[in-house]
Every structure is written in C-alpha cells, then in structure tokens.
Symmetry: C3
Subunit: 312 residues, 3 copies
C-alpha cells in the first residue's frame, strides 16, 4: 500500500480484515518491521481514539512516534498556489509537507471538514496537500471527506460479530445539536460496498450524502422499515450535504432505542451523545459493540501501517 487516504486504497477488504484479525491475536509479532523508522502524527483537530490507537498501533510495529498538534504548536499553513502570503498564514503546504517528510517515514494527518466551503472540503486541501508534496506515505486519520481507519475498524468489528455470511447492515442518521462532518458516514458506506452484505442507508429527507458515494446504495427514508431484521445498526449524525453544513432538524424520533434496534448489534464510531443520538438502554446493553469497535481502531491502524511499511 502506498498511501491510505480512502477505504478504496484497500485491494481486498475481506483479506485485509482477515489479516487484521490475525495480527490482533499477536500484536507485537511485527515489532521489527518499523525499527529505525518514524511516524509523524499531525493533528489539525481534536482526537481521542485516533490519537491513542494510532500511536499504539505504530508502537506495536516498532515505529518511533512523534505527535504534533499542528494548529497550536506549529504555523498556520497556506494551501493556495501563487498566493502573496502577507496575511495570516506563515508557511506553505509545499514546504511543510516536504519538511516533515525529512523527519518522518510516514505522515498521519487529521483535518476535519470546515463545513462552510463545500468545494474546499471536497478538495481535501490539507490531506491532498500533504499527499501532493510529501515524499513519504500519507495516512488519513480523518479528513473532510473520509475516515477510512474508522471504516476499516467497523469492517473488522462486523466480521467478528456476524453470525451469517451475508448480514443485513443499516447505517442510520441520528439527531445531534451541532453540525457534524460526513467523513465517518462516507467511509462506512464505501466500506460496505467492498463486502458481501445487505446494506441499507436511512436518513430523513434533506440529509442525502454525496451522490457519488451513495451511488447504487439502497436508501430508505423510513427508519423503521430500514431497520427491519437488521443484524447490525451503525448510527451517526451528519449535517446536510446539499444545504452544506447545515443542521436541518434535530428530530428526536430518529434517536436509536432498544425497541428500534430489535436484535441487531449497535455500532457507533464515538464520541456519542447519550440520549440524543442513542439512549442509555442501548449503549449499556450487550447489543452495543462500540467498545470493541474502538479497540479495533488499533488493529485497523496497525494492519494499514504494516502494509505501508512493507511497501517502503
């Protein structure tokens, strides 16, 4: 693997999931692989799971880890070509990416969607800026458009919990007081299209995602109908894509409950707002597999880093 920018950088998802499950049994087996190599984890946004699980994964592979909160520890970056940089930005992505490549063998980037400028978010200026100018592989730790480490962790978790060859998996929108990015939902949908499952996407009208990503996906606006006989229900809020970055409604009736969930397993990428996105009864039940999902973030990151290291 050269870079890991999107779920679609995976050759065969089922094969990679299998390898991740093996590695989970013996996380230190490849500790020699990263010896004398360094990964830089650059955070332009907050992070708990990604921060700790990616560090853990890198350490399991013997990599040295340098963590940097780019926003308040470094310099404000410029992404436009040809700008006269006499305003707020101090350093161009061209230099920053090349410079960090001198110190790191792999660069991880977390840079969320700003949710104000759709075209800028779609262009993924931070992630793609590093990809274009860095001379080392880039790991997407959540960009404006995707969160492929989460998507891969979700695939591992579904695989570990499925009791039939072709489970029914539902991704359901849920209410939230703040405008959230589309990245997690996008990567979940892309991930589902790389494996054998019955996949249904459900959300209120107005919450349609990028049609390029949902192309070919079954969309059902009736949540109850979508959830029928589901084996896995993954819940997530996102803001409007058409009316970009707007919170159109916070319809409480879309909150996930024990009744709606039926016998399905409950998934969420976390952090999750209790009793807004999902109620306590679901999260505190044995049907919730969110902690297992969080644990699999380590092995998702580790298998991806392993593939990148093997390709160096």
């Amino acid at each position: 693997m050269k870079n890991y920018l999107s779920i679609n950088d995976i050759d065969s998802l089922p094969k990679l999931v299998e390898e991740a499950k093996n590695l989970k049994k013996n996380p230190k087996a490849n500790v020699a692989l990263g010896a004398n190599k360094t990964i830089g984890l650059l955070f332009f946004n907050n992070s708990l799971r990604t921060r700790l699980s990616t560090q853990k994964a890198a350490t399991n592979l013997g990599l040295e880890v340098m963590v940097m909160n780019f926003g308040n520890e470094g310099w404000a970056l410029e992404y436009e070509d040809g700008t006269i940089m006499n305003q707020g930005t101090s350093e161009h992505i061209k230099e920053a990416a090349q410079v960090v490549s001198q110190y790191c063998d792999i660069i991880g980037i977390r840079a969320f969607a700003g949710l104000t400028d759709k075209e800028k978010d779609k262009a993924e200026v931070v992630l793609n800026g590093f990809k274009e100018y860095a001379s080392v592989p880039i790991l997407n730790m959540e960009s404006s458009v995707g969160h492929p480490l989460q998507g891969l962790a979700d695939a591992i978790t579904i695989d570990e919990n499925k009791t039939k060859k072709r489970p029914k998996v539902v991704l359901s929108w849920a209410p939230h007081p703040k405008a959230l990015p589309h990245a997690v939902a996008n990567s979940f949908i892309e991930m589902m299209q790389l494996q054998d499952a019955e996949f249904v996407l459900t959300h209120p009208k107005g919450y349609e995602l990028d049609p390029k990503i949902t192309n070919g996906v079954t969309i059902e606006n009736n949540q109850e109908k979508a959830l029928e006989n589901a084996d896995f229900v993954s819940v997530k809020n996102w803001s409007s894509y058409a009316n970009y970055g707007k919170v159109l409604n916070q319809d409480e009736s879309w909150m996930m409950t024990k009744e709606k969930l039926g016998k399905a397993k409950f998934m969420h990428c976390l952090p999750v707002r209790r009793n807004v996105v999902v109620n306590d009864a679901v999260l505190d039940s044995e049907q919730s597999i969110v902690i297992q999902q969080a644990n699999n973030r380590t092995y998702a990151a580790q298998i991806v880093l392993k593939k990148i290291l093997e390709n160096l």
Copy 2:
C-alpha cells in the same frame, strides 16, 4: 496494588518507602517489567513535575507512554448518569474510560478540584469516573481530594533526611493570592498518619480541612508554637474548606522565614511563590529539601507503577 487513588491504597508505608529507596539506587533494574505495556497519562490540568516525573518513572520500568492533554486535545466529558447530552459535553465518561482502557494497561489521571462545587469535588467525578468504568488500573496524578504521589514522595524525602526515629513534622498553611485546592495538604496529613512521627498541623482559624481527614490530628492555630523544635516543616497554601474555595485572608505573617524555621528542614511540593509562601532565604538555604522532594516524585511514581504492574 490494584489502583493508586489515595495514600491509603498503600499497605505499609515504611515498607514501600524502603523499596522506593532501593529502586532509586538502580532505577533501570525493572525495565523488563513494563515491556509491551502502555501507560496513558491524561491531563485535565497543567503539570510540570507530575508530567515529567511520571513519564520518567514509566520509562524506567520499560512502559510505553502516551501523554494527552485531555481538555484541549480530546472531547469535553459528561459525568452525570442519564443526562440528555445536548449541551456542551460530547462524550460520556462511560465510553471514554472504557475506550482508553482498550489502548492502555494503566491510566493516570490529573483532574484538580474546581473549588466551586464542594460536593462535586468531594465526589471526585473525574478520577472516580475513570475508576468505575475503566477496565485497567488507575493512577491518581492529583485529584480534587488527594495527591498521593506527592504524599509518597514526601514520605521518602522525610525518611532520607530524618536524624531521629520519631521526628517532629509540621504542616503549616501559608498565604497565597489565589484559591488553591486541598489535595496536597490532605495527602500529606494522610501520609503522616501512616508512620511514626510527632505530627502537628497549623493554620489560621477558618482554614480547617475536611474533619474526616484531620480526625485525630494535633491542630495548633499558633504557628510559632506549632513550629517549636520541628525537624521538618512542610508549607502549603490551601483555600477554605468550610467556606469552600474562598481565600479568607492572605496574612503575610504566616509566610515561612528562616527565623520561624529554626533548624528544621523545609519542604514544599512546588510550584512555590517566593516571598509570599516562603522567603528567598529559606528556599536558597541548605535547609530546603524541595528539589530532593521533586526528584523523589520519580521514585514515588515508579514504586507505585511497579506494584501495579506486578499485580496485572
């Protein structure tokens, strides 16, 4: 040792002090003990000594260390049960503690008293939230009620400097311009009760600490009288407990001076405001053992982590 939440988690303080002193002679002797294990140090408040000494101690034991400033790098946590989380908090302690437990074998927590809500501070919501929901041992790196790593470092320092079997140790309040927590004083008092010494607590009226902690302790409001023939004088400011979190007075006459100190050794947990809490003449004299105290923070943390690791 399962957790280290309070000085009272220590079985035998004199024995632990002895072990810490041995380990100080050969800090790397147990470097294999933490191999392939990870400690997460979560800071909800500023830290210099605790941050560096706990990292150093963990590294001496071969642990991998992940440091996180939870407040500005992670998500605002909710601690109440049953809340509808549609306000400022993004993640519940239930998930956060379980999730961090997936990545770390031990979790260190620093979360100061807010000094506005006495009941909330006494409940130690952050520390106890992690204790309740984490599946790994918890290390208290200063909570609202106690600072047991400091208390243990103080015990080691007293032991190293005492010239008689049963020294006289005084804990004296001192003035300070800001309202400070009770944690350091509490742990010092608890620590003194676990060893053979003549212990006197002195403070102006109104600065009584939690009576549950000072139960059985000699309290003397006349500082001069309290200090008579002292072998060790530990100085610390704290705000009022009864009139919770208030600065009742900044009586300069309580500042520690060379005259008052007599022949005693001077102790302070640091940081210390010079010429407010204690004057330069004391700090710059050979009677001050504050730097040795700070050094012992490493060995206090290391002996505690060693006990926790041996119990894993």
Copy 3:
C-alpha cells in the same frame, strides 16, 4: 561540549560539519550513546522543524524524549530575583530549572524574543535562567538572540553544496508583514565568521543588527551590488534592532527573485512567506536548497547532542 547556547560554543566549525556529514550517512551508529538517558524539550514558543528534527536526532542517539509546551502545559515562570511573587507568575526559574534537571539529562529550550524590551531580550532570561540554575547541559532551540542549531544546519548545507573552496555567501534582509526576531540572522552571521568564505550582509538602512555581532562584517545596503557573483544567498526578515522590534518598511523591492539570485543557491530557515520574502519561481526551482537545509536540522541537532552526551 558542555552546553550549546550559541554557535560560539563550537570549537572548530569545519570539523563539526565534517562529523555531522559522516553521521548523516549512518544516523543510527551512535544509538547506544543515549541509552538510559532522557532529554526534555521545553517549548515556550511554536515550532515545527526544531520540534521534529530535535526529537528525531535525540531518538537516533537512543535518548528518551519528553516534549513539553511549557507555556500552556506548565506554570508561568518568574525570572527576577527577589520578587514578591503575588502576581501572575507561579514558579521561579530557580526551582523550575533545578526540578527539570532531576528528570532530564539534557534540557532543550525554545524561547523567542518578545521584541518589546530590548534589554530583557538581550539578557536571554529564559535560556540563561535555565543555564544558571539547571544542573544538566542546556541546548538552545532558538533563544531571543540566537538560533545556533539553524546556524549549524546552514553551515552543513553550504558545505554540501559549495563548488569552490571559498564561496561567496550573502545574507539578505527581506520584507515581512510582522515583526520578527534577530536570532536566525545573528547565528548565520556568527556561523559565517567561523569559516573561510566571502561573506556580505545586505539590508536597507535602519535594519542594522547588533553591532557586536556584525563587527568586522561587510555590510552593503545596495542589495543588487551585494548579490553580485554570489554562490549562496540566504534570505531572512528581521525587525529593526535600533528602533527595537519595529517594522520600519516592507519594501517589496527587497523580495528575492530569480533575476536577483543569478546562479546562486537559495537558502531560508523556513517557515517562509511565499511571494513576500521570496517568489515562487525561486522556491520551486532547483536552486532552492531550503528542504535540504531543513533536513540538516536533524544532523545539526544530532552532532551537538552527541558532543554533549560524550561530555556527560
């Protein structure tokens, strides 16, 4: 080497450059040298290159690294002697420096000039405070007066690129919208005086640097004339020294361009504001060696740390 506070702490620059170039060929050759030792990197200001390259260098030498953003993670420090500390500062440099010395075998310090109080900046209160009170070696990671790791990296880069024994090297001022410190320019000038080269300093009138540093240096206010037949052109903005910390002009005609550069190599310490300090055509050409300069930051730090470690 005891400390590395200034370029002038180097015995023989040509010899050290030679050693750095050898170490660059085999960066892990001395990984045993730092074993069981710890470096603390204390940042009072933002940093990208210094942060990552110094960590990388330390790791190459087998050192444990503890990074701390002192400003927002620790306590506000007092530097004055005898102060009654009842205002904004919580800890005196006397304690802070001694305490950090308990946990670290080497301390790196980054503390920029404030550019408001010339005497205070010249006194280098932070760096010199640590030097005075720490009991371990101090590494200057850019102080108010100098940036000797940058200066050494520049020397390595010039050596790697020179095609004649005595190249002509020009340091040229360039415009910038904000007031910048003199540290990088100072160390470049000091570095040039330690080797055999034709060195010319060029800047508009009013931008004279500290005469103690430029003593004996050829200064030419006509940029075009200064640049004639240059082999290396290092560009940097700095604010006025006489009219301390002021931006006297932002004369665009001083921006470096392809025409002015001629056949010279272009150098800059980065971050650089494109099309303000230098235009895109220069930075994107093969004449720019700024990325190589940034890479050499690792080996500058590593050779200095090696010398310090060998002297421990």
